[in-house]
């Protein structure tokens, strides 16, 4: 197996007639899907290497990773379970404020101020909100769901700006003191600690998601995405599965928010604002959904574009982002990851033809 197994699970789920591949047992497929491939090593190697190549851009890279993690959390619901959401920013924000409050009021109180515990609190709080709201999201069809997620996000945003005594309102949560990671590494101005901290947490989350989607549970999500009625007919607990994935996705989004608060030492209402939700969805579409890597790659592309175009024409960069997005959606299926997979397939096919005329 060479390039063919570069096929991401979402494509692999297409009817076998299209690809003409022989039917494989689900167990074999899961096994094949969970194997680490060379390009995955390459990706994480590059992420690791960026520390040495761009020592001046560590803050930006951390920010990209956090954004990528948020997009990854959407990929779980959208790319694997087919749930469209415009409210992921809400969970991001809940996590951000939870971590911020934990650090603010736990500072100096021994283990309570540890960033890792802060992350657990962030994920827990966001997961809880996700769990509770998932029941609302399950009602109705796609459009209703979209509106419900949007509504939840607006409610959270409003709570954050109104509950001044707790969140600091529009001025943001100040006085967040991040303790040293594991009591050893303090967050420095160069962003070195932040970089390693964010990279490792992102990788662990990614690894978890990867295991998740390559499990029978993940396969059942794809079945639900493909045809919820049929999934129910063969005895799948559709609603329970959706509640589970929605909660997990919310917890991961909360974790991303917690990371942002801890590395920037404050939380502000724009962490729950609508543009977070919209940007992260945009990033996922950019990168390509249903690949896990789409969010991360999309985040890199989005931020580089913002940085690059923003430096040339700060006032019009949104125009170019819009244009690229439209072109990408029109001419490329599955975003940048789709583009790369296509390119690779063509390249290898050509070299095959070259060898065996």
């Amino acid at each position: 197996m060479s390039a063919i197994d570069a096929k991401p699970p979402a494509e692999a789920a297409a009817p076998p007639a299209a690809s003409g591949a022989p039917a494989v047992s689900p167990a074999a497929r899961l096994l094949a899907g969970s194997r680490w491939r060379w390009y995955e090593f390459a990706f994480w190697g590059l992420a690791l290497g960026s520390y040495f190549v761009f020592p001046n851009k560590l803050m930006l890279i951390s920010e990209i990773l956090i954004l990528g993690l948020l997009a990854l959390s959407i990929d779980l619901t959208l790319g694997y379970a087919g749930l469209v959401t415009l409210g992921q920013g809400a969970f991001f924000g809940v996590g951000a404020y939870a971590a911020g409050l934990a650090a603010k009021y736990g500072a100096g109180a021994g283990p309570w101020s540890d960033p890792l515990l802060g992350l657990v609190i962030a994920a827990g709080a966001a997961g809880l909100v996700g769990f509770v709201t998932s029941f609302l999201v399950l009602r109705g069809s796609d459009l209703t769901r979209l509106m419900v997620t949007l509504g939840v996000a607006l409610i959270v945003e409003e709570i954050v700006t109104q509950a001044k005594s707790v969140t600091g309102g529009s001025d943001g949560l100040q006085g967040v003191m991040s303790s040293n990671v594991l009591g050893m590494w303090s967050f420095d101005l160069y962003g070195k600690t932040a970089f390693w901290y964010v990279l490792i947490v992102t990788f662990v989350c990614f690894w978890f998601c990867r295991r998740l989607v390559n499990s029978p549970f993940g396969l059942s999500l794809l079945a639900i995405k493909g045809n919820p009625l049929r999934a129910r007919a063969i005895g799948m607990p559709v609603n329970a599965r959706l509640v589970a994935i929605y909660t997990i996705s919310a917890a991961i989004a909360g974790l991303a928010g917690g990371l942002l608060t801890q590395t920037t030492q404050f939380a502000s209402p724009d962490m729950v604002a609508f543009h977070r939700s919209a940007d992260s969805l945009l990033i996922l579409i950019f990168g390509g959904s249903g690949h896990l890597y789409g969010g991360l790659i999309g985040a890199v592309a989005f931020r580089i574009m913002q940085d690059f175009i923003g430096n040339i024409t700060p006032q019009y960069w949104l125009f170019w982002v819009g244009l690229v997005l439209v072109l990408l959606v029109l001419f490329v299926r599955n975003g940048i990851v789709g583009l790369m997979a296509n390119g690779w397939r063509r390249l290898t096919q050509k070299s095959h033809e070259g060898k065996n005329p």
Binding site: E63, T161, G172, L189, T264, S268, V300
Partner: protein, 388 residues
Amino acid sequence: MLRRHLLLGFAGLAAMSAAAPVAAQETVKVGLIATLTGPQAASGRQKVAGAKLYMALNGNMVAGKKIELIIKDDTGVADITRRHAQELIVNDKVAAISGFSLTPLALAVAPVITQAKIPAIIMTAGTSIITERSPYFVRVSFTLPQQSVPIAEWIAKNGAKTAVSLVSDYGPGIDAQDAFKMRFEEKGGKVLEQLKAPLANPEFSAFLQRAKDLKPDALFLFVPAPTAGSLMKQVIDRGLIEANIKVVGTGDITDDDQLNGIGDSVLGLVTSHFYSAAHDSPMNKKFVEEFKKANPGMRPNFIGVGGYDGMHAFYQALEKTKGDTDGTKLVEAMKGMSFESPRGMLTIDPATRDVVQDVYIRKVEKKDGELYNIEFDVVKQVKDPIHK
């Protein structure tokens, strides 16, 4: 994608090395973080124009060193502001950062500048507490209590017994309404209700209706300047001016940049503020003229002046330290500094690092076919009334 970035990096390096011979004679960099995209973009344009104008008029050599301005767009988002501040400090090795259009953006950099010991010159944001959050903040703009107190006095003196305030619900707005209430009630008036509209959503009609129903003698308004146009249009549409309610506010609501766009219906509106493009001084005349020449179609407002004065404060400080860029020394040099600005005399209070300046009472009038805030009264050298 990393390779692409790498290429960009090389391109940048090549461009830099081309300029290297000049840069070799010690360059001092100053970061300017402005909001150039999003709803507050108008403020960023003014600030950048003001800062650039100062450099164009006064050259870029100070104490034998070349000053270089590095401009970043914060998009109005706090964590991006913080990242830019951090990158400017560790990568570009700036001697100072400046800008900050909104209070949350300024507050976000407080831990960074304290840790790095780098001065941050606030050119716009107006909540009192900002300068208390780090000993490296220096403000050349204004504070909301400083602007609100004079108009409270004026309106009380002119026969208003009751008032309602309507502000944007964030730090500066709360500061403005509290300072207004404090002084207005000291003078024997009564504030019937303090209305707060969300910052993010510039829709005021429900609040304005509520204000109208309360039938106060006066209505006090504050919103960030870029939102002022839509607020004033709604004030007019709701007929508050015809209802015999005296509408007053801080100068943000009759911002020079937008005043002409709001239209003649605000003629006669009285506000208090530290800057008007019509301020009568030779320095201001020259400033307005040069500003318009360099930025066709734009008229300088208080944010533009903030950018201009922020650069001046930095130039002066660097002159005073004889080119020493140590952050603590620069802040020390700025403390107690006093100079003439297009707005009038300005002093940096050595105790609070906050600005002390004249606040004018002005009325909107037509001059040469344009609307201006014409100053007719002044309160000399006002200190922020909230700082201890």
